[in-house]
Amino acid sequence: MKTFKILLALLFVAVGFTAQAQDDAISKYFNKYLDDDRFTVVYISPKMFQLFDKMDLNLDDEEAEAIMSVVKDMRSLRILVSEETPKQFFDEAKKAFNTNSYEVLMTVRDKGGDNVEFFIKDDGGTVINELLLLVGGEDEFVLMSFVGNIDLNNISKLTEAFEGDGDDANDD
């Protein structure tokens, strides 16, 4: 019985480490190039998003309100940009994130040779835990990672708000 308990405890610890390792895939990749001069690096911390969340902003603008509804649930934003060997970085990143923990949401390839891939990490509901955007072309490699509880309903509201704005502009 004692052996069983120890095994059970070990199992929990192992599961914990695996979950941690999955969560840290993006952190590991980001940290790898954090001090690399070939990259432009932007990091907005969870603290910044917490501050946004705590501030009670009265936004009358539909577009701004939709942006805030997405921003409020976000926990961090990481951006990596490089103009050197973009194709190589794109392939490397794709390999790093095309795992069980991420799912490909959308792939776009244009005539100019630019590849855009969206990856998501979710629990199966309408809430995404992470949205990862990879862009690889002739000139530039871009990686953007949004971590948080990104509600697809809010994203659709955001799209609607922008579309509404576009319609208004067309009406003018």
Partner: protein, 182 residues
Amino acid sequence: MRFPLFLSALFLLLLPLTAGAQTKSINQFYRKYKHSEEVFNITVPGWLIKLGAGIAKSQAETPEERAAFQMVKKFKKLKFMVMEDHNLVTPRDYNRLISGVQSESFEELLSVRSDGARINFYIRDKQETIKNMLILVHEADSFIMVSAKTKLKLEEIADLVNQALDGDLDNEEIVPVIKPQA
């Protein structure tokens, strides 16, 4: 036995208070570089900020300006350090400053690194009030440090943002024009 227990309790009670006032790493860094000839540095005391902001507020024309100067009054102390032609700060000292403030409960808000330039923004807050702010701009040939002691409440910042947004909405006729590329 009671006395040490009482002392320990007192120490534990005082610890958060002292932690709120400490910016040892910033002070050490500031002291190390402020006497160099190529360094411009200034410390603005709270009473001077209050006086300046008070005068500016009385001259302000719009409610947003008044709110902004009211917020400036919440700055208790400001330290500026600027190196314009040579960045004397070694990477070791820079990293030591960053790890030092992090160990003093400063939290990173954002960081940017591009073409050898680094921007770091840290705050230390307590009960929805920003107590300290630190902005660092570290480039190959220049360096800027802005360190502030404040008592800025998040709701006050939100009020200012709301007022600024209201002002923008009042001026809706000002629409940015994007020129088509040739």
